[in-house]
Amino acid sequence: MHTITLNGLTRKFGDLIAVDTVTFTVRTGEIFGLLGPNGAGKTTIINMLTTLLAPTSGDATIDGHDIEGDPEGVRRSIGIIFQDPSLDIGLTGRENLDFHAMMYGIGAAERKKRIAEVLDVVGLTGKADVLVENYSGGMKRRLEIARGPIHRPKVLFLDEPTLGLDAQTRRKIWNHIRDLNTKYAMTIILTTHYMEEADYLCNRIAIIDHGRIIALDTPAGLKRLLQGDIITLGTGGPAESLVPALQDRPWIREINCDNSIMTITATEGESRIPDFFTVAQGLGISIVSVSIRQPSLEDVFIHLTGSSIREEAGSRLGHVHSGMRRRMMR
């Protein structure tokens, strides 16, 4: 069973194609990750799926409802935690949660129970009756996390849910997300820039760049893409001088040099290490350190999307804006 299907979904902003014929399906009960550099189009996809933005072409269905033909049906099936702030800062935390639950027609007793429960999960019980404008950034984020799923939607969208949270809280939120997925059978689409978060939570991951899907697989499957181990060598001289001697080895898939650090992706890494020493010795360069590890999701991500910084830096810009907004209100 598929709860979410996207079919050639496309969105343009003027000349910019923010989302380019994206097609994928998400199975019922799955946690599906969207990874991509800043400005890749993740939030734009979510905005279309949550009926906030109309697609330029293509279509999508959520729980059987077409996003353009039956937006109200879609809205009845979904919940979302937005990337950008969306709280009413003139209300208390509890009121934000209560009003949200009321909008979904949840009865008073049940509201009280669920609110007490989620406040406890996100650790805001003591601050529940304080106005949100007096919350810290992380507290606001936790309140958003508490609010999004309170009506127990069939499909939950999480747009960088743990953005700006400390490590302890992030772990707790991960478990909370897993709970929502298993206890209430929520189908979840999640975007994140934390690779270990995607690795830990997602059943499958789509990597998006410039609005297009460039890879889609399970975390393990994505890691297999690199076909090999990551070997890091610390060299006594410039690492680059080793490259000519090594580059025609058939078992080397990729070499990256950064001053005296060389990162190599190689098949059967353990058995290759003596070879590096032989080559280095021949060139009169010492090797001062060696490490070998399995590829992480981050390695795959960098491999697929390149290592240059994206100039759009979408989310950082978003934060500058929200800072400005706050000042304007004061």
């Binding site: 905005n47 949550t50 009926t51 906030l52 933005l53 109309a54 109200e72 809205r75 009845r76 979904i78 979302i80 937005f82 950008d84 702030p85 969306s86 709280l87 009413d88 800062i89 003139g90 209300l91 009121e95 009003f99 949200h100 009321m102 909008m103 979904y104 027609g105 929200s322 907004r325 304007m328 209100m329």
Partner: protein, 254 residues
Amino acid sequence: MIQPAAIYVLWLREMLKFVRAKSRMIGAIAMPVFMLIFLGMGFRRVEFPGLPPEISYLQYLVPGIVGMTLLFTGAFTGMSVLMDRQFGFLKEVMVTPASRISIVLGRIAGGATTSIIQALMMLFLSVFLGFALPAIYLIAASVVIMLFISIIFICIGLILSSFMKDIHGFNTMTNFIIFPLFLLSGALFPVQNLPAAVRVFAYLDPLTYGVDALRGVLIGHAAIGVAPDVAILFIVSTALIGISAWCFSGGEVL
């Protein structure tokens, strides 16, 4: 399609914020109070042709200033959607299953309640300046007229804010739409005294009928007549509710 629960939630939110923001309330009625005091004193001896001599200028001015209060507070609550958009809260409302008409009606319910409270405060404050209040049932009737006026200008605010994507157009809208609506309405002087060419615009301004109806019930003097005034207010407000709902369903909210 109309969901009372959603309307109630949005109304409740507005009430809570209104009660909390006392400075906002004082700020909102300070301007009309000053206008009432200074215009009322300054034009005390002025006589307008067509106005019965037993009606003093202050008596004449109070319903006009009440109308003005409703115009400004209404248009501003309508345009407060821009604030919600800026703060991201609008998205949160727009992804809920509440129908667009319910969202518009919720805004109107909240905005109208706060506008009318402020207008009534104005009315009672004017007693201290010498305004003679009419019988209680006439005050009750004036509340119905106030409701129509509020609905009209909240809707105009909502419609304007669905076209403006950010807060920057706010002053422009106030200067070029809200102020002219106020000046043309006959809140300060009889529109019958305007030159014919300008008078046409006065008759296109819904506030003209609102102020005239308020005068009809509050001081017993309507130039147009309470019945036609109310009929026009009813038609305009119903139409504007429909247009506002349409503006919020068609466009993208981001």
